[in-house]
C-alpha cells in the first residue's frame, strides 16, 4: 500500500509571510476566489496558523491528524472520523458545537465558526492534489510528502551538514 502524504513544516524556512493563510481561506470558500470570498457568508475560514515566538521564530501550526486523535475520541456526537487516507475530518452536519474537540486538541488548531456554530480544521484539501497552503508557500516551509520521503530528506540534509562540517 502506498503511504499517504502529510503536510510537514520546515521551521527553518518559514519567513512568516502568511501566504498559506490566504491560500487556505480561499480554498475553503465557495467561490475559491480571493476577492469574492471576502464577502461570502458564512465567512470562509483559515485553518493554518502562523505563530510567532520571540525572539523571532515563525511557527506554522496545523492539524496533525494525530494517529491517536484525541478530538475524534472525545467527540460526543460522532462527528469526527478518519478517512481512508488517514485524514481526520469533522462532519459539520453532525457537529453540535459543544467544543469538546477544542478542549482536547493539544495543538490548538481546531477553530470555532461562530456564524455556523461548527468546529473546523485542516482537511488537507480533499479536492486538490496538493493542499493549498503547501502549494502557495513561497519558501517551501510547508511540504506535502510521505513520512518515509520526508524523513529521508531530513536524514540526507543532516548527513550533508555533517560532511560539510568535517571538510571545514
Amino acid at each position: 500500500m502506498s503511504q499517504p502524504k502529510e503536510i510537514f513544516v520546515r521551521l527553518d524556512r518559514c519567513v512568516g509571510c502568511h501566504t498559506c493563510n490566504i491560500a487556505c481561506t480561499v480554498e475553503h470558500s465557495k467561490s475559491k476566489n480571493l476577492f469574492e470570498s471576502i464577502s461570502e457568508h458564512p465567512t470562509p475560514k483559515n485553518r493554518v496558523y502562523v505563530e510567532w515566538v520571540p525572539t523571532d521564530h515563525k511557527v506554522p501550526v496545523l492539524c496533525r491528524h494525530c494517529e491517536d486523535a484525541p478530538c475524534m475520541h472525545a467527540c460526543i456526537s460522532g462527528a469526527i472520523s478518519r478517512t481512508e487516507e488517514g485524514v481526520v475530518i469533522t462532519n459539520s452536519h453532525k457537529c453540535i458545537g459543544c467544543w469538546t474537540c477544542v478542549m482536547v486538541c493539544p495543538y490548538g488548531v481546531i477553530g470555532r465558526h461562530l456564524e455556523t456554530h461548527k468546529a473546523y480544521r485542516c482537511d488537507r484539501c480533499p479536492d486538490l492534489k496538493t493542499p493549498a497552503c503547501v502549494d502557495a508557500c513561497p519558501t517551501q516551509a510547508l511540504v506535502y510528502r510521505t513520512v518515509e520521503a520526508f524523513s529521508g530528506d531530513v536524514r540526507q540534509d543532516a548527513a550533508r551538514k555533517m560532511i560539510s562540517e568535517e571538510r571545514r
Binding site: E51, A74, S77, I80, P106, G108
Partner: protein, 418 residues
C-alpha cells in the same frame, strides 16, 4: 493447533464499553466481543439526548456504531440484558433472563445513574432524572402537556435540559441550593457571564433553596414545595443532582467496590481477568492524585480505550484524568473548565481577568511553577493547549506570562521543548 478465541464480555454498551470494544477489535481480530446493555436502544451518544427533547435530532442521528471512530468493530450488542451477578471463580455472569454467560476477559462499564435525593413525593409521574434515551422520550411526551418545568440542581445536565425545554416553549425555573449555577465547575464569582445569558434566555432562577416536597395529583406532579415555604406550580420536575456508579449487581461478588469499582493502574479489578472503566470505576485525578469517580463521556472513552488494550493483552497504564474537564456552550456563551478551578481559601496562585464578553481564570500551584487549572468563559479558543499543560504537569517556566495573558499557542510549547 488453532489458538483459542478469546471471549470478551463487556457489561454496559456506552462510552467506556464501546470504546473498549473498538480498541479490542483493533488488537484482536478473532476474539468474540459481546456488549450487554440493559437499555432498549442500540448504543448512542448519551450527551446528545437533550436533542430528543427538542426534536432537533432523530435517534438515527445519535447512534454510535458506524459514526466517528466506531466503525467495523464487529461487536455483538445485546439489548435489554441486565446483568445480575458476576461469578469470578468460574468466570461467568448471570443475566436477568436466567442465562449464564462465560467470559475470558470481562469489562465492567455499567456507568452511573442519577442520584435521587430523598424528597417526599419524588416518585410522582412527571418527575424525571434524564439519563437514558427512554428518559428523554418520556420527557418529550410529558413536555407536550407541561406549561412550567422545575429543575432541581444547577449542574450542566440540568442546564442543557432546561435549554431543551425552553426551546420547546416551556417556562423553566431552576432551583439551586448553591448561590450560583454550575458550582461543580466554577466558583460563584466566575459565573457572571453565564448567569446573564441564562436570564436573557428566559430561565428563572431561585437560589439558596431546595425542594422539600413534590406535590402531585392524578395527573402527576403539579407543584414543588420549597424549604422556605414557597410553592411553585409546575407540571414537570427534573432532577440533576449528580450521578452514582452502578455497582449494586456486584454486592455478592468478590470484586472490590468503594463508591465505584476499584481498579489498579492497569484498569484491572482485584479479580482475575476483570477490568473496569468509565463512570463506574474509581480513577484518580492526574493533578491532585486524589481518587475520583467522574461522570464524563470523554473520560469514559479514554479509560475504555486503556481497558481495551489491557484486556487484549497489551498492558497499558492509565494515566488518570482531570476530575473537572468540561466544555460546552450555554446559549451563546461557550465555556471550558479544566483541573483545579475552585481556589477560594486555598494558596493556589490564581490569575483572573474579566472583560465584557470573556472571563478567564488560570490556576497555578502555590509555588507558581505548574498550571493546574483553567477556566475560560466566552473565549475558549486553544483551550486544548492549557489542558495539555495541566495534564502533563510540566513546569511552565518561560511561557507563564503567555498563559496568564491567554496568548499561548503551540509555537510557545514547541520552543520550550526543543
Amino acid at each position: 493447533m488453532v489458538a483459542k478465541q478469546t471471549r470478551y464480555v463487556i457489561i454496559g454498551a456506552s462510552a467506556a464499553g464501546m470504546a473498549a470494544a473498538e480498541t479490542i477489535r483493533k488488537l484482536d481480530s478473532k476474539g468474540s466481543i459481546t456488549a450487554l446493555s440493559k437499555e432498549q436502544d442500540m448504543p448512542y451518544f448519551r450527551p446528545m439526548i437533550p436533542f430528543m427533547i427538542t426534536g432537533k435530532k432523530k435517534f438515527s442521528e445519535m447512534m454510535l456504531i458506524g459514526q466517528g471512530p466506531y466503525q467495523n468493530a464487529n461487536i455483538n450488542v445485546r439489548l435489554n440484558s441486565t446483568v445480575e451477578a458476576v461469578h469470578t471463580t468460574d468466570q461467568t455472569i448471570s443475566i436477568k433472563s436466567g442465562e449464564e454467560l462465560p467470559y475470558d476477559k470481562l469489562l465492567i462499564a455499567t456507568g452511573s445513574r442519577p442520584h435521587i435525593p430523598p424528597i417526599a413525593g419524588i416518585e410522582a409521574e412527571g418527575v424525571f432524572a434524564l439519563r437514558t434515551l427512554s428518559d428523554a422520550r418520556a420527557m418529550a411526551l410529558r413536555a407536550e402537556r407541561t406549561k412550567h418545568a422545575v429543575m432541581l440542581g444547577g449542574g450542566l445536565l440540568n442546564l442543557k435540559t432546561a435549554f431543551a425545554l425552553l426551546e420547546r416553549g416551556l417556562e423553566v425555573t431552576l432551583i439551586i441550593q448553591s448561590p450560583e449555577v454550575l458550582s461543580q465547575l466554577m466558583e460563584p464569582n466566575d459565573t457572571t457571564l453565564i448567569r446573564d445569558t441564562l436570564i436573557r434566555a428566559g430561565l428563572r432562577m431561585i437560589t439558596g433553596c431546595s425542594a422539600s416536597r413534590i406535590l402531585s395529583d392524578a395527573n402527576g406532579v403539579n407543584g414543588v414545595l420549597l424549604d422556605d415555604g414557597r410553592e411553585v406550580v409546575c407540571q414537570m420536575v427534573c432532577i440533576g443532582k449528580g450521578v452514582r456508579p452502578n455497582v449494586d449487581f456486584l454486592s455478592q461478588s468478590s470484586i472490590r467496590v468503594d463508591q465505584g469499582v476499584v481498579v489498579d493502574r492497569f484498569t484491572a479489578c482485584n479479580a482475575l481477568n476483570v477490568f473496569a472503566a468509565g463512570d463506574v470505576a474509581v480513577t484518580f485525578d492526574s493533578t491532585t492524585g486524589e481518587r475520583i469517580v467522574t461522570g464524563l463521556w470523554t473520560n469514559a472513552v479514554e479509560m475504555g480505550h486503556c481497558a481495551g488494550r489491557n484486556m487484549a493483552g497489551q498492558p497499558t497504564e492509565y494515566t488518570g484524568t482531570l476530575g473537572i474537564l468540561n466544555a460546552t456552550q450555554v446559549a451563546d456563551v461557550p465555556f471550558v473548565s479544566m483541573g483545579i478551578v475552585h481556589t477560594s481559601g486555598t494558596d493556589y496562585e490564581t490569575y483572573v481577568a474579566s472583560a465584557p464578553k470573556a472571563y478567564r481564570k488560570l490556576v497555578f500551584t502555590p509555588d507558581g511553577a505548574k498550571l493546574v487549572g483553567a477556566l475560560f468563559v466566552g473565549d475558549i479558543s486553544r483551550a486544548g493547549l492549557y489542558r495539555y499543560l495541566i495534564r502533563e504537569g510540566r513546569a511552565v517556566k518561560g511561557i507563564k506570562s503567555f498563559i496568564i495573558r491567554r496568548q499561548l499557542h503551540y509555537g510557545h510549547i514547541l520552543k520550550e521543548t526543543i
